[in-house]
Symmetry: C5
Subunit: 354 residues, 5 copies
């Protein structure tokens, strides 16, 4: 299956606005986790249905509802109804091949962004769509499968200290996005280290393995870019929204986050060019090696070919070859061979071929 594009064929022929999950079913049962907090209060529970979610929701707290798994479109529709989410937003949530974006609706902001993760089992970067619905007192995150990079955020929410517990959903949304972009930077950095580490080998030992590594790095960087670039655009859209749902202090943080995302994109561009340079240098170095090899072969052949001919000539069986009978013909023959070879070497030395 194409790694760079989600399979849209499944959704074809369906009316626009209908919920069709695109992608592989990544988790068995959909899990709902509810974290509620205000300055003096913190609760972290798992609920099993939208009905239970509604009952357990406490007034006056900030509620973070984390939904893992998107294939149960029935449940997604119920969540949509419970929180009054527009059908198009719901479609974007289940359609995980969505382009990252930020949109404002009447009583919420929707943010679609890619969460990137290095899977250790295949050493490749995997991408997962995270949809954030930020309302005035609730924030819903939709993930494709369990496991995310938000554990530190939950940890900070648990502790009373710090700014986190005192702030609203906008700050929560910001910290989630900040964590994601930070993660981008770490992935880029790791890739960058690999890329920079290859530099010295390229001139010294070009070869198919190195070529393979360069190619893999290009592919991974390509893959990162297809998510990070539009992600930066989504953040820019977000920070330009004129909305009451984002306080002015958080706006400020968002601008800073924008700078970081821009830096991520620039870093990727730099590494892209470095990889391009590396491939070019690899080619140049390869060509140099070929030149060396050919020069070596040529010099060697050219020195020995005349000697062989001489040997061949004195190996002929002509009856009348006066040289053959000369007393010192054989040592002289050796001498001639050595002199000819020496001349050749001397000529090549002068031509700087040796």
């Amino acid at each position: 299956m194409a790694r760079f594009l989600k399979n849209r064929s499944a959704a074809q022929g369906k009316s626009p606005g209908s919920l069709v999950f695109i992608g592989k079913q990544k988790t068995d049962a959909v899990s709902i986790r509810l974290i509620q907090y205000h300055e003096q209060f913190f609760e972290d529970i798992r609920v099993s249905s939208v009905k239970e979610l509604r009952e357990r929701r406490r007034e006056g707290t900030v509620g973070w509802i984390d939904i893992n798994g998107l294939h149960d479109t029935e449940l997604i529709a119920q969540v949509g109804e419970a929180f009054d989410i527009h059908p198009l937003t719901l479609e974007d949530i289940v359609n995980t091949g969505q382009r990252p974006k930020a949109e404002e609706f009447e009583h919420y902001i929707s943010i679609m962004i890619k969460m990137m993760r290095l899977e250790h089992k295949d050493g490749r970067i995997h991408s997962e769509q995270l949809s954030i619905i930020q309302g005035s007192d609730f924030l819903i995150t939709f993930q494709e499968k369990p496991g995310d990079v938000f554990e530190p955020v939950r940890e900070r929410l648990r502790s009373v200290k710090g700014r986190h517990r005192k702030s609203g959903t906008d700050y929560l949304a910001y910290t989630l996005l900040d964590t994601i972009v930070d993660n981008y930077m770490i992935l880029i950095e790791r890739l960058g280290e690999q890329i920079e580490a290859m530099e010295p080998q390229i001139i010294d030992s070009p070869g198919p393995e190195l070529l393979n590594t360069i190619n893999e790095n290009r592919r991974e960087l390509h893959f990162l870019r297809t998510s990070v670039r539009p992600g930066r655009d989504a953040l820019r859209e977000l920070s330009r929204l004129q909305t009451d749902l984002i306080g002015s202090s958080v706006s400020f943080f968002l601008r800073d986050l924008n700078d970081l995302a821009t830096q991520a994109v620039e870093a990727m561009d730099t590494y892209r060019e470095m990889l391009k340079d590396q491939l070019e240098s690899h080619g140049a170095s390869s060509a140099n090696r070929l030149n060396e090899t050919m020069k070596f072969l040529t010099v060697f052949s050219v020195v020995f070919i005349p000697l062989s001919l001489l040997a061949g000539i004195y190996g002929t069986n002509f009856t009348h070859m006066p040289e053959l009978q000369f007393r010192y013909a054989y040592p002289i023959f050796w001498g001639v061979l050595i002199v000819v070879a020496g001349c050749m070497v001397w000529i090549f030395k002068r031509k700087k071929w040796l």
Copy 2:
């Protein structure tokens, strides 16, 4: 004939504004299909003339007139007259080499866009111009030949359920465009799968077949781009029109469609760069192979050339060659051959050529 450009020579010398069909005559008789519906009503008939079309047209319904075949310019002119379509629009309709665009006229919107289709008989993507004239209660589609990708839309119109039957011509136009763009995505995806599938072969087994495949993919992608890029621009123009003919809810859908088209263009750009990278990697890999071959040839030649010279020397017929009479000269000769070859191999091993 040029596949990327329609033949304009036919229209040369004609006054601008005159109807000249550009392209091959793709269908025999022009067929007219009329679908009329409102919430409680649905009718799907074929009519044979513009006169019949007018008689069968019902007040208070949304009418979708689908015309297949453009070579009968007489009929096109009659349709134009019946629905009061501007001459320039008519010219754009029959001139199928038109750049995709959306324009607003007094009482209708005209949209020219390319419909792409993978023909199974030659495995290549074919393109056909679709012209949409969207009025307040009618929508006319002009296609070059019968057969399209709109069967699911008609199916949804037939069933009473869903939003479709309750909505006007703007929603109908949107669903048609959505189907087209969805189709772009599916074609890109299919191409993308082929492109990504080639990756592992490039380093392992470069060769002319692979090169051929890369080239074909490039050409197909090129061909797709010449239609999809301006198509995206046309959609953008459409969503920027300030017109009563498009309701606000449909506007919203159009913006979403714009995002999808942008994603399509970005995906094509990504695949374009991947193909470029693949060609470069293919070249690098090819150069590597050449290096290996040359190294092998060089090593082999260089090891055997001195041995051949030695054999040649002792094959000469000099009368006085004392070595020849020595009792163990022959085994010693073999020994020398083996030692020389061994030294050469050892030197190459040290130089890391073996």
Copy 3:
């Protein structure tokens, strides 16, 4: 002489604003042709002087004055005086290396554009500057030499039918420009057909002739672009002018023409990239061939070299070579040769070199 740039040296040292004809004198005598028409009237005459031109000019008609040849700067100056044309415009007219542009003056619009023509004698595209001065009731065209692409326009003017005779100078200017841009499209199309036709040969039979063709196509496309691109810009400027000299209906046509010019530029860009791809593919295919050749040479050499050594060894004249006397030594020798060759071939087959 540089084909891409006109020779400016001739004009150097002259005061700006003075009339110096740049370019080769392309026609012997300057000819003046006057076409005058209104709905009921049409006249097509040749005049020999500006004085005669003035006398023959009829009030109430649209007058198209077509001047062929620019080297008679005296006459150009007289025309300028007669129609009150700004010195800078006159300078632009005779300075045929001018960048295409459209400018509004007090009582006229000046348009400089390139007319492209495929010369059959050398198979190359030639470019000629056309300057259009469009006033309220007159339109002057300045061409470098006789012969143009406007015959169909004159034909249409002659016939009473059609829009042409009823319209003013703005429509005339539009039809001239339309003819020129149409001609661009036809040239691009012809080039495009050649380019697309080469595709299959590139992988199958790369070689110097093909390379030559690719190069010529690149050069021709380059040459086209240097005129078409700025031509498109000039048309855009023209359609943006806020002037009474262009009626609203013609404005509409001009926008359409703009679209066509944009399409021409896009088509050229597409072909440019195709040519680039073709050169790259040619290189890759060439490299493949070299690989094949080298592999063949290597395999052949490597199979025969050891055999030659063996023959050489048994050709030595050592006195004591017991093998030589063996009864079946010679057939065994042949057997050894065949076995060694067989082993080599088998090894290469396993290594997939054969």
Copy 4:
């Protein structure tokens, strides 16, 4: 460690806004240097704590506080408190992987920029973040380690003459930035000299050392660009700030500085292209050499191969070879060899291979 990106992993999981030093601990103890001056007064002292700093600070003077070393985040926080610096600014200061930028806060301007230095010990360019906090009567500079390029600035401050002592913090900030950008120019210039100096060698003696040098220059230029480009953007932002903290005369100087930074970026772009050209020329020159080598080998082999065959034929031991007994067979044989070789050489001469 990646040279192009600072390690952000250290900061991961921390709440945004907390101070975590990114980068290696470059100095042992953080040093604070306080320079205070007005027209008649100048003092240059070292203080050991923020408390002492406050005590020694004199009213009515311009105070330049230079802090070397950022790992003591406790001290940075104290400085932040003492001068009322926003937490986000403090975070940017210690997070040395920051993208260069200029921001206005309520009572100060923060400028983050990279200071570039050529380290003589490894011949490479090193980069260090300089953070400038410019208030109304104080200016704080944060450097990663001791040693900077500002000694001439201090020298000018010491002397009573010149504009410096009479001006405020805005002029001081400008001179620091000017020194930094001047330094960029000098580094680019030095790199440029190396790049230009290589030109003649590329065609004459391509080879791995040259390739290495080209590569190193590319890498250094790349590294410079990642700092200088965003630095230019930061300067542009700075000169666009609408603030009372920068006087109009200094604004004027800043615009001039902007020009210089633009020139630096353009110079880098020019050298980048030159390096690209050099690599391409190197490749072309390398290919030429290979061609020469191959031609030489081919000519040599082709001349000698037939001669060897002839020698081989007359070395066969057939009983009935009438030529062998001819009286002058041997000299004739030599003659044939010479004639054949002569013919070959003559053919190659005619084909222009020699």
Copy 5:
């Protein structure tokens, strides 16, 4: 020394705004030339000091003060004082590595631009900074060394005819700039002729000399671009200034000059691409040649190798080789050789290698 960048190291450590001449001292003594004119008056004198200049200056005339040589910063400072020129402008004048620009000051306009000249002694283009200070009734030009391209301008000033003597300093500034840009065009044209002239050789006879020429052309074009591009920007800035110092008629001429500069930049871009194409074609052609050479070597070797083996086999000294005694063995042997060679050639012919 870097040719593309002036040496800034000399100015380092100096306070911004101090006058330090950058560049080689190109002339011995600074010369001052004063041309004064109005419609009825013309005077062309040389003065030796600023004091003399002031005394000789006549009221009511346009004064063109031409200063050759910039190393005498004392004198430059005096001129600055006499005409009330801002210190930053003076700094820009002596700092000849300045980026071309146009700036408006209170009572004058400063224009920095590069004057390009083809030096016949080394066949390379040299660049010199020209600074123009245009006041209401005086215009000062600062050149690095004597000798310029303005002789025709002075000639026209001398003659009473023409517009020149009646116009003010703005027209004078325009004619100087026009001369400079015209000169750019001529240089580009000359380079272009060389570039176009090389086209036919590239496919026919690639080689190191051609490569050298391509490279030199690239370098010269590069060098031209670093001056012409920013020069165009400076002209654009100039034509956008809202100032009383430039009359409306001259504004018009400046717009025209802008067009010419744009054309110059476009021409350079075209030639740049042509050079790029040429290098690519050279590479492709080179690869083709290598292919041909290798094919020739391979065919030749492959035809002769089996023959040599056969000769070797019948040169062995086995006692029992029945073929050797056959009566017609030797002619048969020759026959076999010829048949084998013939077969090989036939196979190669069929494979289209010959």
